[in-house]
Amino acid sequence: MFQATLSGLAVGSLFALIAVGFNLTFIVNRTVNFAHGQWVAVGSLLAFTLLVEWQMPLLVTIIGTGVLLGILGVALERVGIRPMLGHSLSLGFIMSTLAIGIMLENAALWWWGSTALFVPSPLGEERIDVFGAGIYPQEAVIPAVTALMLAGLALLYRFTRLGRALRATAENPEAARLMGIDAKRMIGFAYGLAGLMAGVAGVLVAPLTGALAAAGAGLGLKAFAIAIVGGLDSITGTLIAGLLLGVAEQYIALYISPGLRDVGVFAIVIVILLVRPFGLLGTREDEKV
């Protein structure tokens, strides 16, 4: 039970970290990058190149991958999101982000190949004993990094001018513009931030599963489910949903059957959405005035 909880929290916090990428952009302009998972996969492949091929230090790898994907995120917003938002019901961004994701995945397959690339954990492979349960250092560090990243985001949103501008853009882009905030820039910044988070998540996941170009779709789908369950406009909700579903997944696999793991998890997702259509901590759209 404790082992399952421990592993569930590690995996859950990883998926929460990925899922926050959906929150960041949804909050500012009600769009998401449907290929966010492919961003994470590219992050893990960049980790391979920087850490293994170029023998860069871990910190350089994290910063390098984060910045590169951040830039990619800004570019995505410029070419794949902004031109698609002609009117309030425009759904073109769904297709454009999916298409760019497919292009990115194919480019990654061409460059890095289709087999999983081994990325050794910079923290070593020695099993850590926690009250009889086991965990690898790489898994243990994930919840800490997620907590750190989310705390950083909270500080940014609450105490900085940039954060206030982001919140203002989220509340009312038109009013924000009148107050002198460049709303378009803020949206671009949010996409950059989401890219950066994907990069960091990619570095974290690489030593766990290997860096694999085709892994994006699986990672993205699960993370998207978590963001929906948590509430697309609530980062706290996403964190809670990530941990909840991460642990639930372990319990279902352990006490029911590994084969029914995904069935069980997605059944929980549907039940939660039936009860709370806007997610655990999501806000009802019509209540936001």
Partner: protein, 405 residues
């Protein structure tokens, strides 16, 4: 990978040039189908290289009926639909005399209707699923030098019981045709010994976590677990078993011969036993093995025999091609394109009726096949190997498992 792709493209280009030159001398074409891209690239490449070297050796000895053999390789990317497309092209447009290759069982099974429709004999080098040979077909054009899962399962269960005295055996398998087939065959092999698996756990190749599966195996108190998946997933399972503190002995089916196992499992891969059929590191390698090893290493610039990837896959492909070549030599072929269908049938008939003795790497085939047995490699030809300092070496154990019995 970039370098690998470039080499592959270079080889393909060289192949095209050879093809252009060879066609003028009316070579006899052999079609090769297997993955040269996608997840099966490394295994597929090993199989193609083994086949190509056998053709080099056959040609060096004068070819078949005075004509050189020419390998026409096609990439199936380990996808059944692509395998079918390239098989049709090889049969109808390239006019091959026979087909050889494969890696993934799902594609191998999917090829059955195509080769029987086309009337072309096919030699499966690697494709272990029991049902890849459809014995209800008559005449049956599918032959195999690969290990077969039902035999492999019996061998692995036997090994677990005799070597480790295992009384409680669990199964870990991936959720693919390969994994499910392995699960069923091991279950049957255990039932034949009056046992049943104490746990059956399924996992997926891209799983980010296999803790629960490892816990189930630990909870079952299994003495040994037999893993049936690709090497990377095997390695993930081994790591998870270590994480939950399970002291179960891990035994792997032959896909764990990939260098990915020691890479992804790290020090935990040390001592993991893997079923194989051939090792280039055998102390008593015969003359053919020595020659093949030397030529193979020279051709592919491999400095050390321990670095030959997928040794058994290479050997199976080599032997399969030798058998095809021997059948073509023994058959009274007209070698006229107008009689291609009849020549293909003659090769099939020779394969099935009394081909042998043919000396191969794995054994001397005599007879290679019979009407009721299109599997030329059986449990008596299996050996156990063990990962030792990143090298897959014959496993001695209590009963000298590294030698054929």
């Amino acid at each position: 990978m970039k370098r690998f792709t470039a080499t592959l493209l270079g080889s393909a280009l060289a192949g095209l040039l050879v093809t252009a030159g060879a066609t003028a001398q009316e070579t006899l074409k052999i079609g090769w189908i297997g993955p040269l891209s996608g997840w099966g690239t490394f295994g597929g490449t090993a199989i193609m290289r083994g086949t190509a070297l056998a053709i080099d050796h056959i040609n060096a000895e004068g070819g078949v009926h005075g004509r050189m053999l020419e390998l026409v390789p096609r990439d199936s990317a380990a996808k059944p639909e692509q395998a079918i497309t390239v098989a049709r092209e090889l049969i109808d447009r390239e006019n091959v005399y026979a087909l050889i290759g494969k890696f993934d069982s799902s594609s191998a099974k999917a090829l059955n209707p195509v080769i029987h429709e086309g009337g072309v004999p096919m030699m499966l080098s690697i494709a272990a699923a029991t049902k890849n040979i459809e014995y209800e077909r008559d005449p049956n054009f599918m032959f195999r030098t690969s290990g077969a899962d039902h035999f492999i399962a019996e061998f692995l269960v036997d090994f677990a019981m005799k070597e480790y005295g295992a009384e409680k055996i669990a199964i870990g398998f991936e959720d693919t045709g390969y994994g499910f087939g392995g699960r069923d065959d091991i279950t049957r092999a255990l039932e034949a010994k009056g046992m049943e698996p104490v746990a059956k756990v399924k996992f997926s190749r891209p799983d980010t976590d296999m803790t629960a599966q490892a816990q189930i195996i630990k909870r079952s108190e299994a003495d040994a677990v037999i893993l049936y998946s690709i090497a990377k997933a095997d390695a993930m399972m081994i790591r998870s078993l270590n994480k939950v503190g399970a002291e179960t002995t891990v035994i792997c089916a032959w896909a764990a011969s990939s260098p990915e196992l020691p890479k992804f499992a790290g020090p935990l891969g040390e001592g993991i036993t893997v079923m194989q059929t051939y090792s280039f590191l055998d102390e008593n390698l015969d003359d053919l093995g020595m020659r093949m090893r030397a030529d193979f290493m020279a051709k592919h610039e491999i400095p050390d025999p321990t670095k030959i990837p997928f040794p058994a896959f290479t050997a199976h492909a080599y032997d399969g091609m030798l058998l095809l070549g021997a059948a073509m030599k023994k058959s009274d072929l007209s070698l006229d394109s107008a009689d291609l269908a009849s020549d293909r049938m003659k090769i099939r008939d020779t394969l099935e009726t009394g081909l042998g003795p043919v000396q191969g790497l794995i054994k001397t085939y005599d007879p290679a096949f019979t009407k009721d047995n299109h599997d030329s490699v059986g449990p008596a030809d299996y050996i156990m190997t063990v990962w030792n300092e990143g090298k897959l070496v014959p496993y001695k154990g209590k009963h000298d498992w590294g030698k054929k019995h």
